[in-house]
């Protein structure tokens, strides 16, 4: 009942033939069999296809071919990342049976590196939510406390990694959807710089905010995975041709002299004192290792949530227009005419939160409201970006909590959209500015629920936040703690 090894260990044992890729996949299949029942982290699992792929990798190794840096590593994808062999549902009834005829860029990269796609994870429908309660299919539970949410929207991915059912999973982060559930599940979650990883094959929510990132046990695994998926892809015009540094080599750099910024805006009203204590303890550790902690200010952060819910919903209202019952996806069975076909297919296919955001987004783009909402939000977004530009003139990294609180009980916020939106208050501005940020475990509260530390870096400096995260994890053991059902 020990569950799976992590990414680095799995690849090492498979590459050195201490264990076969088939065994690696089988141990994940076994862990899923034993632990998935109550957690409900996966929408689909494809053991046969994964084992077949594992055999191909084992055959390659037997023939002396290089099986790739991620040889035999089973991974899960959030169910908004397209791959050919499984339905990509976005946890929505409107795409319940949709099987894409193509692989996402990250799937191509991962497969080429020897990783094996084993499962697709649960999520808030179309990534809209912070608790995975908005899944159109079922709710996922937090492995640390099954009465609590795992966070969201990538809650299936973070819960699966926390329960050691899979060495790594991929999520998407539009306003915190990787980092917030990573914090609530006690795992490591990285949102790369906007443009660092191709969005080709990621079902769009907020196109100018979405990024795919790895969810792992530790920063080393995150570095290994980012190295594989990062880089320019000509199919995504917004992906950037910035060189990809050696993330793994950067992990061991000393952090002496590193300037870490803290902003009062991240430590205000609503922050659970236990979370604050754990984050400040992490800062003490960095200081003790020779880093310098400085006060900075991000004056426009108070507008981030409002700005985000205009920009993200505007883009979403347009991105989700294509699900209309005409070309693919759910179609209402007996429409009376074309308008009825549209209206009923969408009414039946989308959940309440998705409809709420489509309406909000449609409203802010409407003639007469565009300037007051959408255009103004774009201006605020520029100001938020400038805040970060200015901050990174004086510091190398910004440290903060990931979330104001630890995991909350299922149902607590599901009837209060505004309270739910505030769960992302510390994560949203990184998406608006496009900067990379990582969430790593930094302690537990009195209920033994994990607490997350967020490290935010300048554009394309994932190497730096991974370095700092790894140095923290080398000196602490928070990330090695396992939830009860996955105890070693």
């Amino acid at each position: 009942m020990s569950g799976v090894l992590n990414v680095a260990e799995t690849a090492r044992t498979v590459r050195s033939r201490k264990c076969s890729a088939r065994q690696a996949v089988q141990s994940a299949i076994n862990a899923i069999r034993d632990r998935e029942g109550r957690l409900k982290t996966f929408i689909s699992v494809s053991p046969d296809a994964a084992l077949k792929r594992a055999d191909e990798i084992d055959a390659a190794i037997a023939h002396g071919r290089d099986p790739g840096p991620l040889a035999g590593v089973p991974v899960a994808l959030k169910d908004n990342i397209c791959n050919r062999h499984a339905a990509t549902t976005c946890a929505s009834n409107i795409l319940r049976d949709f099987v894409p005829p193509y692989d996402a860029h990250v799937v191509e990269r991962l497969t080429a590196a020897g990783a094996i796609i084993l499962a697709k994870t649960n999520m808030d429908e179309f990534a809209m939510g912070s608790s995975t309660e908005n899944s159109g299919f079922f709710k996922t539970r937090n492995p640390w406390n099954e009465n609590c949410v795992p966070g969201g929207s990538s809650g299936g991915s973070t819960a699966a990694v926390a329960a050691r059912m899979i060495p790594a999973a991929f999520g998407s982060d539009t306003g915190g959807s990787i980092r917030q559930p990573a914090a609530l599940c006690g795992v490591t979650g990285l949102k790369p710089t906007y443009g660092r990883v191709s969005r080709y094959g990621l079902v769009a929510f907020g196109s100018s905010l979405d990024q795919i990132g790895p969810i792992t046990v530790d920063a080393r695994d995150a570095a290994l995975l980012l190295a594989v998926i990062a880089g320019r892809d000509p199919r995504d015009s917004t992906s950037v041709a910035e060189p990809v540094p050696d993330y793994v080599a950067a992990l061991d750099k000393p952090i002496h002299g590193l300037k870490i910024g803290i902003a009062a805006e991240y430590f205000g009203q609503g922050l659970d004192p236990q979370v604050e204590t754990a984050v400040r303890a992490a800062l003490d550790l960095f200081r003790a290792r020779g880093a310098e902690v400085r006060e900075i200010t991000l004056p426009h952060m108070k507008y981030a949530v409002a700005c985000y819910y205009v920009v993200a919903t505007a883009e979403a209202s347009s991105n989700l227009a294509r699900y209309d019952g005409v070309h693919y996806g759910h179609r209402t069975p007996v429409p009376s005419d074309l308008i009825d076909l549209y209206a009923r297919s969408r009414h039946e296919g989308f959940g309440a939160e998705v409809k709420r955001r489509i309406m909000l987004g449609t409203y802010v783009l409407s003639s007469g409201y565009y300037d007051a909402y959408y255009l103004k939000a774009l201006k605020v977004r520029t100001l938020i970006r400038r805040d970060f530009e200015r901050a990174f003139e004086s510091v190398d990294v910004i440290a903060s909590p990931v979330t104001p609180t630890t995991a909350f009980p299922i149902g607590e916020k599901s009837d209060d959209p505004l309270a739910m939106y505030l769960a992302d208050i510390y994560t949203i501005s990184a998406n608006l500015a496009g900067v990379p940020a990582i969430s790593i475990p930094c302690g537990f509260d009195a209920k033994r629920l994990p607490i997350g530390l967020q490290l935010t870096g300048p554009w394309f400096r994932e190497d730096r936040i991974l370095n700092l995260a790894h140095q923290f994890q080398s000196a602490t053991d928070h990330h090695t703690h396992r939830p009860p059902l996955a105890a070693a």
Partner: protein, 496 residues
């Protein structure tokens, strides 16, 4: 109080929105082939099908074509331009938004010069922007409809003029000249039958009556795809709008709604489709999947400098420089290759008028037979020029040149060699000419007698006799020398 038709003055006002399909190999945002008449839904991919997760990537060639056209229309080119989503639901629009350009079109504020009575006229261009075409809905299926997405994503350049066209003829000329321009530039095939140019005139009338001026509501006639229908629709609307105003003086702009109308080709009338919504809310916003396009000024200057002489200017120059008629100039400048070919040939020949005659009478006939332009014939401009020079220098006759030209289509021999091997080189040898002339005189005694007896018939007789000499020589006799000899011989007989 009414007005009689005879009391009023009516001025037609027309502006055009034209969609020009660009001649790229692939669609505007994906790698699918641009195709016409293929099996429905056989030219699609995740991108143009709007599948979740698929992303558009701009076709650089389409952008370059659009910039070239913009420059040729005298437009300013935006250094910074972007893509916007235009939202509306329709089954032929897979994403339920069209990628277009809203407030920053790539080209704006230009003017297009078209020929007009006694010179030319400049039609103001408001803007030109790129956008993707939609697919096609097929509604003739009983109780359901089908959608063909082969056309979805095809690059279109939309060109919008100022309302500065004032007659059906001008409307016709604007459209034909625009087609000449885009095909001449090579940015569009401009094939009307394939819907590669679609014209939408916005038409109203300014009426002056009893010292007051009224304007009728604007009607937009949708999707005209022939020049004839453009002229017909504009003519019809001009009449209809004046009549409607005469019948109801409140038929005025702002008092009555603007409307969309369609053209009924069989009946030759426009038909009401629908009133224009005051402002349909397309909820335009910048497409976050595409990056803005920054135009490099050095590159733009390069394109500007490489811009060729435009068709109208070139036609006017041909008239002056080569002394050809306006119609003949238009034929010679039908396309860029033919015009280039003509100029090279004329220069080689040193005889533009002879070259022009051969282009218009001989080469264009061969080109028509083969369905290509003269510039695409397998005969080089140098060889065409050589043949024209031979006629000009009377090495061969014009009749003989036609036969040589025909042979040149399949032979790579030099025209002079062909003339020799075909025995068509003009004979100027005195003895040979004398013998042909003597033979003709002997065989046509009655004509010779008439010419001598009746001075009024001399001219005709000389022509007849020269024709007989050409016939006897198999086209080889130098016609001018032969004529001289015939006249001299007649004069001698008259004297003797």
């Amino acid at each position: 109080m009414g007005h009689k038709a005879s009391d009023i003055e009516a001025r037609l006002i027309v502006g055009f929105e034209t969609h020009v399909q660009l001649a790229t190999n692939t669609k505007l945002f994906c790698g699918c082939a641009v195709a016409f008449g293929e099996t429905p839904n056989s030219r699609m991919c995740p991108v143009c099908l709007g599948l979740p997760g698929a992303l558009p990537v701009m076709n650089r060639r389409a952008f370059d074509f659009a910039v070239l056209t913009g420059l040729a229309l005298g437009c300013k080119i935006s250094v910074h331009t972007k893509w916007d989503r235009k939202s509306y639901y329709y089954p032929d629009l897979p994403k339920n938004y069209q990628i277009s350009q809203y407030d920053l079109p790539l080209a704006h504020d230009g003017a297009f010069e078209i020929p007009s009575e006694g010179g030319s006229k400049r039609v103001g261009i408001i803007r030109a922007h790129l956008e993707e075409d939609a697919g096609k809905n097929l509604h003739d299926q009983g109780d359901y409809s089908l959608v063909d997405l082969n056309r979805a994503g095809t690059p279109l350049l939309e060109i919008v003029t100022r309302p500065e066209i004032n007659s059906p003829d001008e409307a016709y000329v604007y459209c034909t000249e625009l087609q000449r321009l885009v095909t001449y530039l090579g940015v569009s095939h401009g094939v009307m039958q394939k819907g590669q140019m679609r014209f939408e005139p916005n038409i109203n009338v300014e009426i002056t009556a009893g010292g007051q001026t009224f304007r009728t509501p604007i009607s937009e006639v949708k999707n005209l795809n022939s020049f004839r229908s453009v002229r017909g629709a504009v003519e019809f609307e001009f009449r209809r709008q004046v009549q409607d105003w005469l019948a109801d003086h409140d038929y005025q702009f702002k008092k009555r709604p603007n409307e969309n109308r369609g053209w009924d080709d069989e009946r030759g009338v426009t038909v009401f489709q629908r009133e224009k919504e005051a402002a349909h809310d397309y909820r335009y916003f910048p497409d976050p999947d595409l990056v803005p396009v920054e135009v490099d000024t050095a590159w733009l200057n390069g394109v500007r400098e490489s811009l060729p002489e435009l068709p109208l200017a070139r036609r006017m120059r041909f008239e002056l420089q080569y002394g050809v008629t306006a119609d003949d100039a238009a034929t010679l400048v039908a396309d860029r290759e033919t015009a280039d070919c003509f100029e090279s040939a004329a220069e080689r020949a040193g005889a533009p008028q002879t070259t022009a005659k051969q282009f218009l009478n001989v080469w264009s006939r061969f080109a028509n037979d083969r369905g290509v332009s003269v510039g695409r014939l397998a005969v080089s401009a140098e060889r065409m020029g050589e043949l024209a020079a031979m006629v000009d220098q009377r090495v061969v006759s014009a009749t003989a040149a036609n036969q040589i030209a025909e042979r040149m289509m399949s032979s790579s021999d030099e025209p002079r060699q062909l003339a020799e091997s075909m025995g068509l080189v003009t004979v100027a040898d005195e003895g040979q000419l004398d013998s042909w002339v003597a033979g003709v005189f002997a065989g046509n005694e009655k004509a010779v007698k008439d010419a001598i007896a009746n001075p009024k018939k001399t001219q005709a007789a000389v022509g007849f006799l020269r024709g007989q000499v050409m016939k006897a020589s198999g086209g080889k006799a130098d016609p001018r020398l032969a004529g001289d000899k015939i006249e001299a011989r007649l004069a001698a007989m008259r004297a003797g």
